[in-house]
């Protein structure tokens, strides 16, 4: 087991590497306001982060990552483009496995702005690939933007698409929705009864009979959703052919060039993904320009769907294949949408990633033995 001093020395080496690559070193407070993180990530963050409180500031969290404070800092004062690197502790509750550290160092690199997203994606990935190259890790890549584009291209209502997009990060829920919208899962009995009742008596009569109006969710809110249910019931199911295309796409696990070719085939019937595929192709070219052998690089279409829900484009991770027990040594991706949420209307393209130096150190030593 490496000492904290050894891990910090390793972290400093990685931090210096990113500084030499042109990134400005930045810091972030350890205590972060809980409401921002909660609003962003939802209740799940409570299971992962340490929450504390005082009377003056209310709930605070020990930072679970640097992304949010770095984005906030950039949205207030950053130039374009801007490259940042940071190095410091993050804190994660470990309720399931006490052997996993609840405090560890992250070294990160984030790139904001710039003209060309494909070049920016490639720049970030290539830096991580270079600094990790002595470890012989397996790199996994994916693209959440492709999935979002595929959903956007389905022949169905904007509401159904929004519901599917919202659950891209919850694969089981996504599957259940797709089965329902595709007519593969039956309409629940209670829903059928409700729809029949609305048709017989009208929504207003149902609301009158339902009970006194209490709480912030108003009668108008309920009426609006009843209306949505009626409209949705009148919609034809998403065609089996389209569901199949989406399933086919979600199951892709191939090398990047093969995955691209496979998805070009899919795009013949689902043309909405073509722009996202052009971006993928441009990214692969940019990666080659950075000296990455994309013929050997894996692409998994569903990669990144079970992580925290802010990546919305390119995603990547580096894994030690000899140590499947370890979490990824490094991971990252593009999070344009997060900058829009935290930038109060302003958005900046952003891509970045983090490395865990204690894992780099452990694997370096293992390799040396």
């Amino acid at each position: 087991m490496a000492s904290k001093a050894e891990i910090l020395a390793q972290a400093e080496r990685l931090h210096a590497f990113f500084r030499n690559a042109g990134a400005d070193p930045v810091q972030a407070a350890i205590l972060q306001p809980a409401d921002t993180l909660l609003d962003l990530y939802g209740e799940d963050i409570r299971a992962r982060a340490y929450v504390t409180a005082d009377a003056a500031r209310g709930e605070q969290m020990l930072r679970p990552d640097f992304t949010v404070p770095v984005v906030q800092m950039h949205m207030q004062a950053g130039g374009d483009p801007a490259r940042y690197t940071y190095c410091g502790e993050v804190f994660r509750r470990q309720e399931r496995d006490p052997n996993r550290p609840n405090e560890y160092i992250q070294v990160g690199y984030e790139l904001f702005g710039g003209e060309n997203p494909a070049e920016a994606d490639a720049e970030v990935f290539a830096l991580f690939s270079e600094v990790l190259s002595p470890l012989g890790l397996r790199a996994a890549t994916g693209d959440i933007g492709l999935l979002l584009a595929a959903i956007g291209g389905l022949s169905t209502t904007p509401k159904r698409k929004a519901a599917l997009r919202r659950h891209v990060w919850r694969p089981r829920r996504f599957r259940a929705l797709l089965d329902r919208f595709g007519g593969r899962a039956p309409v629940p009995e209670a829903r059928k009864r409700l729809l029949a009742e609305i048709e017989a008596k009208g929504g207003a009569a149902i609301l009158d009979a339902a009970g006194p109006e209490i709480g912030l969710r108003s009668r108008a809110d309920v009426a609006a959703r009843l209306e949505t249910l009626v409209q949705d019931a009148a919609e034809p199911p998403i065609s089996a052919a389209e569901v199949e295309l989406l399933d086919d796409m979600l199951s892709i696990r191939e090398t990047c060039p093969n995955a691209l070719a496979h998805m070009r085939d899919i795009a013949v019937d689902l043309p909405a993904i073509a722009p996202a595929l052009d971006l993928l192709e441009a990214r692969l070219e940019a990666l080659e320009g950075q000296g990455i052998d994309v013929d050997l690089l894996d692409f998994e279409a569903s990669y990144g769907r079970t992580t925290m829900e802010y990546y919305d484009g390119f995603v990547f991770g580096f894994y030690a294949e000899t140590r499947p027990d370890l979490p990824p040594v490094a991971s990252g991706g593009r999070y344009d949408a997060l900058t829009r949420i935290l930038g109060q209307g302003r958005a900046v393209p952003a891509v970045g990633g983090v490395i865990r130096p204690e894992l780099v150190l452990a694997l370096t030593r293992e390799g040396g033995q």
Binding site: G42, E95, L194, L207, G211, G215, L216, R217, D221, V222
Partner: protein, 232 residues
């Protein structure tokens, strides 16, 4: 060492616990004055009765400071992270029944399932600018249940009592609380989601994995288990 048996120190839960043990041929009773928290187990050597607040029994079990404890399964699952690795549920005791459920205002004619709750939460957040609030004191159980079900756009707000009133008081939009008959929910114009049963709780005899199970404690446990008819 002495086998420590933790039981609830007051109220109906204590009485029913004593009745259950008596019904299984083991007399346990309080000793000393009415107000003194001490007790005794008759007929089995090396067993010490520890009277505790039912809410503290999970913590004492998890830490292994008592060998056995009687408390609600809801409290154990709520308060002990990864509870199955820390305690063993030896025997459900058939009293102290309570269901932990998700309930929403009855006026939500559009909401019957978790699926509906999720869709309503998304629309609510878009319309009202904040997540749909669910009042509860069972944070862990509710969060895990909703994560499992893939419900998003909600937040939990803490409510340690009178939870059914939070909706009317506009501090929450829905609740997750224990109910036995549903009477209080109905009186507060709330209804239970048809798939909103999170946990069916009852008083349960638990065994602590982390306690000091030396020879003497183990022998006492064997004797007690035999008398109680537990296959342990």
């Amino acid at each position: 060492m002495t086998l420590k048996l933790g039981v609830p120190s007051k109220g109906r839960l204590m009485d029913k616990t004593f009745d259950w043990f008596a019904g299984h041929g083991v007399n346990i009773r309080r000793t000393g004055s009415e107000r003194e928290y001490s007790g005794a187990v008759e007929g089995i050597a090396g067993v010490e009765l520890v009277l505790l607040s039912a809410g503290e029994i999970p913590r004492e079990l998890a830490a292994g400071r008592i060998h056995l404890g009687v408390t609600g399964s809801d409290l154990v699952q709520e308060r002990i992270a990864d509870w199955e690795t820390r305690v063993v549920a030896l025997e459900p005791m058939g009293f102290g029944y309570a269901d932990l459920v998700i309930a929403v205002p009855r006026c939500w004619a559009d909401v019957d399932t978790l699926d509906d709750l999720d869709a309503a939460a998304a629309a609510f957040r878009a319309a009202h600018g904040h997540r749909l609030r669910i009042a509860t004191k069972y944070h862990r159980l509710v969060r895990e249940f909703l994560r499992e079900a893939g419900v998003a756009d909600y937040q939990l707000v803490d409510s340690q009592g009178a939870t059914e009133g939070t909706v009317k008081n506009l501090t929450a939009e829905a609740i997750a609380d224990i109910t036995s008959t549903g009477e209080t929910l109905r009186a507060n114009h709330l209804k239970i989601l048809s798939d909103g049963l999170i946990h069916r709780s009852q008083a349960t005899l638990f065994k602590a994995r982390a306690a000091n199970w030396d020879g003497a404690a183990h022998d006492s446990f064997r004797a007690l288990a035999a008398r109680l008819g537990l296959d342990a």
